[in-house]
Amino acid sequence: MTALPERAYDVAIVGSGAGGGTVAQALAPLVRDGRRVVVFEQGPRFDDDEFTGCELEMASALYADGGGFLTAQGTMTLAFAHAYGGSTLVYTGTSLTAPERVIRHWGVPGLDHADLLRRSQRYLAENNVHLLPPEEINDNNRLFVEGGARAGYRVEQFPVNVKGCRGSSLCNLGCPNQAKQGTNRVQLPEAERAAGEVLSLPIYPELAPTQLDQVVDAIRGFYR
């Protein structure tokens, strides 16, 4: 195995999903000011034509342990992606802003719901979050709405972050039509563009486990 080249950064971001990808974009102006920012992503970057929609193929390519990642206690499994864009590649695109009662319950000092709502507007616009028009609601969901309403429940639509959705029903396997506007399509490319031609915001693809350990150790050292 070849040793990783030694590089110094001002900011290291671990993971390229909803959290990491968004932070990378937000810090992009620092790169213009000469700061070095890096995003570490364990998984590979896929080309558009590599999203085949084939369940077995895509589950093992995109998800940690094929979607059956077992927690340390072994009491539950987690399905999360390790790829450029993290889990924004494989979630259904449902995009909600945390309600006031949740933010109040968290009790994070300085995290104000009104401020969060204001900041969220930017991401809702950038990621094309909207309610699907009635003609794009599939039969399953239409029946669910009808059944819920008849049972006396108030049924609402989830807003989703899609653009040019073709109704493949394959959101969880990485959209084969590049309709879902995850960080792989919006925030990360934007962050990389901001870095100009200099690779000062590189995305390392396909780190081997041993290399990942090296990176994790280096990051721990960085934050100590």
Binding site: F51, S60, D65, G68, S168
Partner: protein, 132 residues
């Protein structure tokens, strides 16, 4: 190398209890189901593969204590009761092991294109255009 080869009859009896529709599979159907599972297991550590084989062996022999017969010799009702007991076991290790085994059986059966078609699963990258 095959993980299931050493415990094939017991595995098939378990899989057919978890997914009763599997009883109607022909030889090619079972081969396809097992190929899918073997493919998933190939990426897992050898230790996990060994644990799975041990669990299947345990499921085959444990019913001797209660019913006087191995799992593969039980009728479908008793097989289901044995697996339900594992699923509800107070021992985390057994619950965990059975959960994994059950997941594999479901994946092996339903990941086959024929099973997907039989339940009307028609996801297609072309989406609405393909379904019109």
């Amino acid at each position: 190398m095959s993980v299931l080869a050493a415990v094939r009859p017991a595995f098939r009896a378990i899989a057919a209890t978890v997914v009763p529709e599997a009883t109607s599979l022909d030889a090619d159907g079972w081969k396809e189901l097992e190929r899918i599972i073997e493919q998933a297991l190939a990426a897992r550590p050898p230790r996990l593969q060994r644990q799975l084989v041990i669990l299947i062996r345990a499921i085959e022999w444990l019913p001797l204590l209660r019913y006087g017969h191995r799992f593969t010799r039980l009728d479908s009702g008793r097989r289901a009761r044995v697996l339900a007991a594992l699923q509800e076991s107070p021992l985390l290790l057994l619950r965990r092991g059975f959960w994994g085994l059950r997941t594999l059986a479901l994946m092996g059966y339903y990941a086959r294109p024929a099973a997907a078609a039989s339940i009307g699963y028609d996801a297609d990258p072309r989406g609405w255009e393909a379904r019109r």
